[in-house]
């Protein structure tokens, strides 16, 4: 059964991971721009990163029959230097019309600071101006609840349609509010710091399967690029119907991402 991993950072992964994901049924991925583990020191460093996301990675993925798409932004972890962040954001429009760009992401908040919020608002204004989809990162651990609430208010204040915005990394204390306010929700499957596959399936059982997906967010840290097929196995182990598994790991991503003219996958 085929699946989509709608949030994974393949610039940090090996070609072996592409192979194993394809063998497990992955047919498409989307890769948000994120923090490299260190702060970049020039706008041209970001331009190179955006070239990697829009040129190099689609070619690597295509070798394994995987369609590669991406999102562009400066990550909230690099938003505290607001002058530099604004320089980087001014370069993003150069890349928005490239063939595999779905929209702005993963934007959001990290420590819920005033500068992070200002950078988020500028990103949201760009998404509104260019009528793109938005993929939102919510903060880690103790900062997630507050950040999620601030982000949803910022999206509403920007005049964006919540149905074109996915709020990612939801957990038990944020998923209800995200869905109630009309957003799409993403569950990230991490070994320690977000949802395990078991807890993600618990969330589906409690909050339902509409407007929600699962992703691995595989990157350079503790993460698992095969987390989505492992969650599918957990659903199967609990005897959830194949249609429900297909909806959450393929149908829902297609429904949301398909609103971008740059998204394509063989259905």
């Amino acid at each position: 059964m085929k699946y989509i991993d709608p949030h994974i950072h393949m610039v940090s992964r090996t070609t072996d991971d592409y192979r194993r994901m394809a063998q497990a049924g992955c047919v498409a991925i989307t890769e948000p721009a994120f923090w490299a583990g260190f702060d970049r020191c020039s706008v041209d460093g970001f331009r190179d990163y955006y070239r990697q996301l829009t040129d190099t990675e689609p070619k690597r993925a295509a070798h394994y029959g995987i369609k590669h798409h991406c999102w562009l932004c400066i990550n909230p972890k690099e938003a505290e230097d607001i002058g530099f962040a604004r320089e980087v954001m001014s370069a993003i429009p150069e890349f928005l019309d490239r063939h595999n760009v779905l929209g702005i992401g993963e934007i959001g908040l990290n420590k819920n600071s005033k500068n992070e919020l200002s950078v988020l608002e500028t990103h949201l204004a760009l998404a509104k101006e260019r009528d793109t989809l938005v993929l939102v990162h919510t903060p880690h651990l103790e900062d997630k609840y507050k950040g999620t609430m601030l982000i949803m208010d910022a999206v509403a204040n920007a005049g964006l349609d919540s149905d074109r915005v996915l709020i990612d990394h939801v957990e038990e204390h944020t998923v209800g509010a995200v869905l109630d306010r009309g957003f799409w929700a993403g569950m990230t499957l991490y070994p320690d710091t977000k949802c395990t596959p078991q807890r993600a399936v618990d969330i589906l059982e409690r909050w339902g399967t509409d407007r929600i997906w699962m992703n691995s967010a595989g990157d350079w840290g503790d993460s698992d690029p095969l987390a989505v097929p492992k969650a599918r196995m957990e659903m199967k182990r609990r005897r959830h119907p194949a249609a429900m598994i297909e909806q959450v790991t393929f149908g829902n991503p297609v429904a949301f991402l398909g609103r971008s003219p740059n998204f394509s996958v063989d259905v």
Partner: protein
């Protein structure tokens, strides 16, 4: 599929058969971690993260449901205003005493 709840199709006994051993091991891991903290080579500290963990454990056995969400909220900053500046890029998993709400 419906947007409503999707209850696990397994029976209560089937769930226990499937996951008891895994969670028995997790309880022992937690106990072993607390035991480990009891025998440090140097002086013990009153770390807010361990205190948060002990408080979370009390929620596990208070007889009420919705444990996961309640523990998440116990470990969350519930203030509502953005802070002036980010003090670091990472997160700690519990609320430092000065920031407790």
């Amino acid at each position: 599929m419906s947007s409503s709840e999707q209850p696990c199709p397994l029976s209560h006994t089937e769930m226990i058969d499937a996951w008891f051993l895994e969670h028995r091991a997790k309880v022992l891991d937690l106990a072993a971690f607390l035991d480990r903290l009891d025998r440090p080579t140097g002086p013990q500290s009153d770390d807010f993260r361990v205190e948060a963990l002990r408080n979370a454990i009390t929620l596990l056995i208070d007889g009420q449901g919705d444990r996961t969400r309640r523990i998440q909220m116990m470990l969350s900053d519930q203030s509502s205003e953005p802070i002036d500046a980010a003090p670091m890029q990472g997160a700690l998993g519990a609320i430092p005493p000065a920031d407790a709400t």
